[in-house]
Amino acid sequence: MGRYLRLLGVQFRASAAVAMQYRVDFLVEGALALFWMGWSLVPLLVVYDHRSEVAGWSFEEALVVIGWFTLMKGFLEGAVNPSLTTVVEHIRKGTLDFVLLKPADAQFLVSTAKFEPWRVIDVLGALAIFAVAFHRLGRVPAPGHVAVALALLLCATWTLYSVWILVISAAFYVVKVDNLSFLFSSIFDAARWPVSVFRGVWRLLFTVVVPLALMTTYPALALLGRLEPRTALLAVLGSASFAAFARLVWLRSIARYTSASS
């Protein structure tokens, strides 16, 4: 465990060093992150310009969901997406062999291959959105609720990561996976809305098939103190089984990998 933590530190330092070489990119990416953050509020503002409540969510509560969305998006684009691109390159060129030869778990190595430190801006932005939302609500989240929300944050990141492991596993079969990542990003966009806005097939899709509800709505409910304990428990169980499933699929796919050069 300690060894893997140290490895994580090394990988992170390497990414930071690479990122420091492209300082202008840093600024551009940072500015873009801010731009998107503001922009993602536009539909919300329009909707709540016409209504004071949608599907039982007030503006402030929906804002909390957007906060979680920003946070998860930062995680997705800062920690998960860059690594994914690297792995796909490896698989395509056959250089994954060099990763597999290293004396550490391959899944760990490929998923920590690259970070984009500048995405920290998203985290700060999310905190700012939370602050605004709770300021407007006129209260501070209870410590217990914060604790549950943080636990669910862990589940959410783990689930999001698992989805990506599944996407990477698909790369062993179909190779050109950047389309799939694009597809997932576009689906993930729906996570900015509370899941109860959706009905029927959509609700089912976003709760069970692609667990977006788990990533933004449930943590938001927890932070607001509206989450039922039963749902929280189900969320934890759900994300655990999702992660296990992803790990299983990964192991099967990697067993099937034959180097592109052979």
């Binding site: 990416e29 329009v46 016409h50 576009s186």
Partner: protein, 293 residues
Amino acid sequence: MVAVPGPASGPLMPQAAAAAAEMRYSWAVLRTLRAVPTLLRVGLADAVAYRAEFLVWLLSTNMPLVMLALWSAVARDGPVGRFGQEEFVAYYLAALVVRLLTGAWVIWELNFEIRQGTLSFRLLRPVHPLVAYAAENVAAVPLRLVLSLPVTLLLLWLVGGTRITHDPLLLALFPVAVAGAWLITFLAMSIVGALAFWIESATSLFEIWMGLFGVFSGYLVPLSLFPEWVATLARFLPFRYMLAFPVEMLIGMESRSQALFELGVQWLFAALLLAGASATWRLGMRRFAAYGG
């Protein structure tokens, strides 16, 4: 035209040189026209060969459906502005159809080929690269039509009788409006893509373009639901003519005279962008030659 060397301005016989250049130019146009059917066939074969990828690309255009679900929830207890639930269905399904039909991907290709230098292969061919890109992108339209057919049928089945315009002229002009929308999309992409000749982060710039598109084209939210000044501002930007205009024309939210006027504005934007694209491209070519040479 790029592959054809510029007018060889002989100092002795400027007139003859000019005449020769003109002939070469008309030759280039003829040659391009002759090549177009082949380019289209190749492009279609390409699109069919990668049909799975193509399908995934199209599936990722799901934003209108998500927004439709959202606005339906909002409109459940009464209409929003001019929009009741049925109007939202018509609007977003039509938006999905227009978006599916007017998609282009030239920016990614351009960016990649300029950076990797593989653009040189294209330059060797006796057809202007922009024409070749355009042909590749247009060639995918039949496939796009097939794949957007279910959405179209759904649209007609759900609201065909009530919310689709009954004006035969507007219905006949709808393909023209879609073609104009595609042209604006493609040319804007070409311009931003050609900026890769100068700057590293052309794709980041394009992200901003897409962000503006999302809001000012009515893709996320119908423009009339915005505060008045946003809708007015949108009329002076190209984005509206890439999506909202064909959509509103189709679902009968525009009078005939208004639609005709906007069609003119749309093609004016397309013409401006065409001039911009060819200028950017010509300047960029000099840069590229400098890199390679």
